[in-house]
């Protein structure tokens, strides 16, 4: 009996968690607007017919994507919001520039001081979206490539010992992606 009650409660919690996420209609609208803007920017010709054709095509693609159930938190993560652009990307850009300069220094160094190695650590993200953001951020940063990305373990190839040293559980990138994922 008590297990049934707790199951009901967890079901309610799940529903509550889902309802706090953006509704599918809003997400579909956002997909449609994005597609239309994409069309308009690529086309550059603004006759009524071409604008209407763009709007129609955007509706068709959105409808197909809805039918394929592609429009969810993974397919079109608007929940990440502006924080992704103004809080995470600038930091990631800074990291990319920093490590690109380090790797460039290694490449141009006469002795080529590399110490390639494979490291494993546990990421703190739980959703597929968070894991993908974390793994892609690792790969995008020169000097580290994410080889295997599973919920419990990341396998990362690092070019130098310093690059490998930053890849431990709870590192700064890991914490930042988790905050982004949680949407706090």
């Amino acid at each position: 009996m008590s297990s049934v009650v707790s199951e009901q409660k967890s079901g309610e919690r799940q529903r509550a968690a889902i309802s706090t996420a953006a509704p599918t209609a809003l997400r579909a609208l956002s997909v449609w607007a994005t597609l239309l803007v994409f069309w308009l920017l690529l086309s550059g010709m603004y006759t009524p017919f071409l604008i209407a054709a763009g709007a129609g095509c955007a509706i068709a693609v959105t409808a197909i994507a809805l039918r394929m159930r592609l429009i969810d938190r993974e397919g079109h993560p608007i929940d990440l919001g502006v924080r992704a652009f103004f809080w995470y990307w600038p930091w990631l850009l800074k990291e990319i520039v920093k490590s690109a300069c380090q790797v460039a220094g290694v490449i141009l160094h006469p002795k080529l001081p590399i110490a390639p190695r494979v490291v494993r650590f546990e990421p703190s993200q739980r959703s597929a979206l968070g894991l993908v953001i974390h793994a892609n951020s690792i790969t995008l940063t020169p000097g580290t490539i994410c080889i295997e990305a599973t919920p419990g373990e990341f396998v990362v190839h690092a070019l130098t010992a310093e690059g490998a040293a930053s890849l431990v559980a709870g590192n700064e990138m890991d914490q930042r992606v988790s905050r982004l994922e949680g949407g706090e």
Binding site: F38, L41, L42, G44, I96, V97, A100, C101, V103, A104, I107, L108, L112, I114, A115, P116, R117, V118, V119, A135, N136, S137, T139, L140, T141, P142, G143, T144, I145, C146, I147, E148, A149, V155, H157, L159, A161, A164, A165
Partner: protein, 109 residues
């Protein structure tokens, strides 16, 4: 103001070209697949990024500028995905090739 933008654009284009060349040199100097991918990622992040930024300053706020931003976003999302697929395929086929220098000391594990 215009001269400042021109100068910044020139600096971006030149340094972007520099990082692209450094990536190419690294591609030749590095010993194996993974280390070569590290070298290539210098060219595809900072090299391509600075070149696109320099061109964006030339284009200004126009449709061409918007297309350059789209190109940057495409690289930003597609290149790590492709790199991951390549590294993962290599690691699945021959994991023994992944460590060429030495095993990391137990303390860093």
């Amino acid at each position: 103001m215009n001269a400042a933008i021109e100068a910044l654009s020139a600096v971006s284009l030149l340094s972007g070209g520099f990082f692209a060349v450094v990536g190419a040199i690294g591609l030749l100097r590095m010993p194996d697949l993974y280390t070569r991918m590290h070298a290539a990622s210098v060219a595809e992040t900072l090299g391509a990024g600075l070149l696109l930024f320099g061109l964006l300053l030339q284009a200004g706020i126009t449709l061409n500028g918007a297309k350059l931003i789209m190109l940057g976003l495409l690289i930003f999302f597609a290149s790590p995905t492709a790199s991951h697929a390549l590294a993962r395929a290599a690691f699945t086929r021959a994991p023994e090739h992944a460590v060429v220098a030495q095993e990391p000391p137990p303390s860093t594990r």
